[in-house]
Symmetry: C2
Subunit: 339 residues, 2 copies
Amino acid sequence: MKHVGKQSIIFENKIYIVATSSIVGNKEGDGPISKYFDVILKDMSLGENSWEKAESKLVEESFKLAIKKAGMKNEDIDYVIAGDLLNQSIGTTYGVKSLGRPFLGVYGACSTFGESLSLGSIILDGGGGENILVGASSHFCTAERQFRTPLELGNQRPLTASWTVTGDGSAVISSNNKYENKGLPKIKKITTGKIVDMGINDPNNMGAAMAPAAADTILTHFSDFELNVNYYDLVITGDLGHVGRQLTNNILLENGLDISDIYTDCGIEIFDKKTQDTHCGGSGCACSAVTFTGMIYKKMCKGEILKVLFIPTGALLSSTSIQQGQSIPSIAHAVAIEM
Amino acid sequence: MKHVGKQSIIFENKIYIVATSSIVGNKEGDGPISKYFDVILKDMSLGENSWEKAESKLVEESFKLAIKKAGMKNEDIDYVIAGDLLNQSIGTTYGVKSLGRPFLGVYGACSTFGESLSLGSIILDGGGGENILVGASSHFCTAERQFRTPLELGNQRPLTASWTVTGDGSAVISSNNKYENKGLPKIKKITTGKIVDMGINDPNNMGAAMAPAAADTILTHFSDFELNVNYYDLVITGDLGHVGRQLTNNILLENGLDISDIYTDCGIEIFDKKTQDTHCGGSGCACSAVTFTGMIYKKMCKGEILKVLFIPTGALLSSTSIQQGQSIPSIAHAVAIEM
C-alpha cells in the first residue's frame, strides 16, 4: 500500500469483497431497499430474553451467514474486525465469541463499518492474513434505551431525530487471487477521518453534528487523490439523514465540490420518509453496514454501479458526555470500492 | 509482514518505538515502579469538573507529551490508534480531538494497548504511514463508578478484586530508517487473541476470567513461532493480578510451558500488595500501558532487558452484561518487542 496525500492510502494488491451478509429488522424490511436484504427478522428479540442478547444473536447469525456465503469455514477467517454502539461493544463481543477466531474490536460509533473495512484492507494488503470478516451492528431497542429514553416511555421525537436501524452488515474480504475475474467489487483506496467538532450538543440532531466530519473526509479524499468531480458513480455517507445530507452538500459546494447529483446518504435510502415516520432517516452502525452489504454491494455485482465512495459517519458521544454538557465530536471514514 | 502459524504475524520492516509517555495518578506514584513514570499527578481531577473530563485531559496531555518526546509535531503523526474503558470510549475521543489527526478507535477492554500497538505496527509495516501514535487510558474514578459502585459509597472490596490504574500510556512508533542504530526497542511479532470464555461471571474476579485467554495467546505465540522456552527475558501479562497470574502459570505448566521464572504481570508490578491495599493488583487499560511505556520501555532502552513478550489482557464485560447474568468473555493480544 502507499500513503497518499494527507490522510489516504491506495492499496497495491486486490482486496476482493467475496461475500456479504445483511440481516435487518421488520421496519427495515418494510422500507424502500427491502429486496436487497438477505434476512428480514420477524422477531426483533431473536428468541432472547434481553435486547442486548438479541443484538449479539443478530451479530452471530450475520457473521455465520457471511462466512457461509463466502464458501468458507470459520477456520478460513484470519481475523474478525467489528464493533457496535453498546457500552463496551457487548453486542459484538458476545456475538463473535463462538466463532473462535482472532478478534480486533473497533469503535467509531456509526462509522464502525468504515473503520472495519479500512483496517481489514490494510491487513490484507500488507500480507498479514488472507481472509478477514468485517462487520457492524445496531439494534433500535438497545440503542434507544441506552442513548435516549426507556422504550416503554413512548417519547415524542423531534423532526431532526433519526431512527436507529436494527441489523448487522458483515462482509468477508480476501486478498486471494483466485477471486480475480469473478466480477467482485474491490476495495481500492481509503481516507481515514479526523475528529471534527463544531459544537453541536443536541443528540437529537446528530446529522448536523456529523456533517462537517463527512464533508471534511470527502473533500480530503478528492484532494488527496486529485480526483475529478465525475470520478464516482455514487458517493454515499453513512447516517446523516435528510438534514445532515443537506448540510454536507452545502459545505461541499462552498468548497467548490459539486457532487449533488450522485451524493446520497444510507439513512435516506433505508427508510421512506413519507410513510415510515422515521423523521430525519436511519442511523446506527447497521444503517451504513446493511445498506452497503445489501443494496450497494448487490448493485455493484450486477454492474449497475461501478465506482462507489462509501463514507460511514460516526457521532462519538455517550449519554454521560451529553449529560455533562459536552458537544458531539464526529468522524467519517471513506472507503472507495470499484468493479 | 508474514502471517505465521495460526494467529501470528512477523514484521519485515523495523518498527521502532521512538518515544513513550506515562502519566499516572498519585497512588501509582506511591508504588514500587514510581521512578519510571514521566508524570505523577497531584490532582486526580486535572482541574476538570468531572472525572470523565479529567480522563480526557489525561489522554490529551499524555499524547502531547509522547509527540514532544519523539521530537515531532502533530502533523508528523499519520494515525492515532487508541481507546479506553468508558462507554463509547469518550476518554479517548475527547482527549484526541484537539490533535486533529486521523483517528482509529479501538476497544479491547484492558487489552487495548496491545491492540493499538498491533494495528499500528501492521499499518507501518505495510507502508500505510510513517509515524503512529498509540495509547490507552483508564481512571480509577471513572471506571469505579461506571463498572462497580458510586465512589461515595465506600464499598468493601473482595480480595480477588483489582484496583483500576489511573493513567495514560502512549507511544510514538515509526518505520523511518533514521531511527536505526539509535538503541530503540523494536516491535517484531504479534499474536492476536481469540475470545475465550470459561464461564466466570464475577466482575470482582477478572483475573480468573482473563487467565485462560492470556494462557491461550501465550501458548499460541510460542507454538506459532516454535520458540524455545528461554527465548524471552521477560513475559508480562496486562492486568491479571496475583490470582490470574497464578492461574495462567498453572495452565501454561499443564501445557508443558514452564516460564515461571520470567513470567509476571503488570498488575502485580505496579502496586505493593502489602502496603497499598490494592488486593489482587492493578487493572484497567492504563495498567499495562503505563507499566510498558514507563518501566519496560525504559529498562529496554538501558539494555537491562532485551526481549519482551508483552500481553495486555482484556475482560470484555459491561455492567449490563453482568446484570443480565452473562459470563465474562476475555481476550489477550501478544506483542513481542526486542532490542
